[in-house]
Amino acid sequence: MQTKRVAQVEEECVACGNCAKCCPFGAITVYKGLHAVVDEIFCKGCGKCVVACPADVILCEKREDQSA
């Protein structure tokens, strides 16, 4: 079941990988050392990555398809 919220990574991600480590659903990966990528299918919007992100670049936003 899709949740209402989903994690979104901002431009200034430092690719430290802390979010990927703490995600209980394995929904985040670091793409080629550039930035974190959230798999929206697996993300449950729990917000653990938001708390863990040391750069404060992850937000838990409303899913785009939910707002329509």
């Binding site: 990574v9 430092v14 690719a15 430290c16 990988g17 080629k32 050392g33 798999d39 299918i41």
Partner: protein, 205 residues
């Protein structure tokens, strides 16, 4: 659901032991070069920040102290800390200081007197005469003093930002992290020119 611990999750022990060994004999500081060379090799060959993501003992140590032991306020750091100008500016400053340290080492190799102190935060000179370095050439010892200063300085800065902000706030402006991300960007740009996926497309999973 807790992730299973792997061997590399205990590299914080290596980082702690490394810092402690420097107090017994400064020559152990040479081991720290591994923390410089490994991330660069992983970024240049593998094209990833695998070192930061998995193997960085210092990051693990900050996570342990700030997260599990609760020594961090867990507040978001100011926005400028993650900005490009600050991260690359800090990297430039850090590298300038690093090359200055290398120049001082060269001077000792060339005949200057060995200076037995560790420079903390680029200003404070901590006397470190108790370690025996007589069995190596003064240049080898001078590099150890200088390099240990670099490692100690970054640890102190990391600890301060760990306490004030989030546990791994050091990772945001860590010069090695900035450098490896820069290498990955260059590598990725080359791959894109050769027909790979562009960075903009990679942001959507």
């Amino acid at each position: 659901m807790k992730a299973k611990k792997r061997g590399y999750d205990y590299l914080w022990i290596f980082s702690s032991v490394y810092l402690a060994l420097g107090f017994f004999n400064i020559l152990f500081a040479w081991i720290g070069l591994l923390c410089f060379i490994t991330p660069l090799l992983i970024a240049m060959i593998g094209g990833s920040k695998g070192y930061c993501n998995k193997y960085c003992g210092r990051g693990q140590l900050f996570e342990l102290l700030g997260g599990k032991l609760g020594l961090s306020r867990k507040k978001a750091p100011p926005k400028f800390l993650r900005s490009k100008w600050f991260r690359y500016g800090f990297l430039t400053f850090f590298m300038a200081m690093f090359f200055l340290m290398l120049y001082n080492t060269y001077l000792v190799f060339a005949g200057a007197t060995l200076r037995e102190f560790v420079t903390l935060l680029w200003v404070f000179k901590l006397p470190w005469q108790w370690t025996n370095t007589s069995f190596v050439s003064p240049g080898i010892a001078q590099f150890a003093f200088g390099f240990y200063g670099v490692m100690l300085t970054s640890t102190v800065l990391g600890l301060v930002t760990m306490i004030v902000f989030k546990p791994r706030s050091w990772c945001v402006y860590c010069p090695m992290g900035t450098m490896t991300q820069g290498i990955c960007k260059i590598k990725h740009r080359k791959d894109t020119q050769n027909g790979g996926e562009s960075e903009a497309n990679s942001r959507t999973a």
